[in-house]
Symmetry: C2
Subunit: 95 residues, 2 copies
Amino acid sequence: MLMHNPPHPGEVIKELCLEPLELSVTKAAEGLGVSRKTLSSIINGKSGISPEMAVRLSIAFDTSSESWLNQQTQYDLWQAEQHRKELRVKRLSAA
Amino acid sequence: MLMHNPPHPGEVIKELCLEPLELSVTKAAEGLGVSRKTLSSIINGKSGISPEMAVRLSIAFDTSSESWLNQQTQYDLWQAEQHRKELRVKRLSAA
DNA sequence: AAAAGCGTAACCCGTTACGTTGCACTTCGC
DNA sequence: GCGAAGTGCAACGTAACGGGTTACGCTTTT
């Protein structure tokens, strides 16, 4: 169970990848092989990191694709957990 | 980096949740609050486990939603990694 | 044989990632 | 002041996917 709101994975990209290398969104998008808008959407929290994008990031920044996608998973899961009480689900476990 | 093809998360649901409790797809779907088809699609690998479904599973089977969604992430990532070489991405890291 | 329950394929809908184009805004250098 | 570059954003379209409803085939039960 996660305790606090995880940041947009896009923020992490901006802070850990673009800013240290002084890369513009345009340049980074070009290098990643996606459109400017696609990267911009991710950085601004409008879109999530897709599995393919995770692989692109891993190539461009020599990191692990798993870490990127896990960040996105944690973020999505936190969103879903916020509505846990609204789900009408019966307990099916051995109990 | 993952070494071998991870199983469909749906297979795990079937083997670890339904069969031990002798639950039919219909009964399990009813308990989870989704349609028969939705659960059937997951079990047969046609659909993945969504964040919301992960929370449903965690409630119904008293497990962690994180583990379910991570399984899905690993599966999706393995699929994406299979096309790693086809992506035209430039190295942007310090190197 | 008729009825009931089960699993799944077919079809439609809403959402999302992604691309393209265009526009408005800011920040530079001239 | 002016143009170029960078950025964000809205609107269009495409493709893929999760989910519901319906309908069909199969098995089991009565």
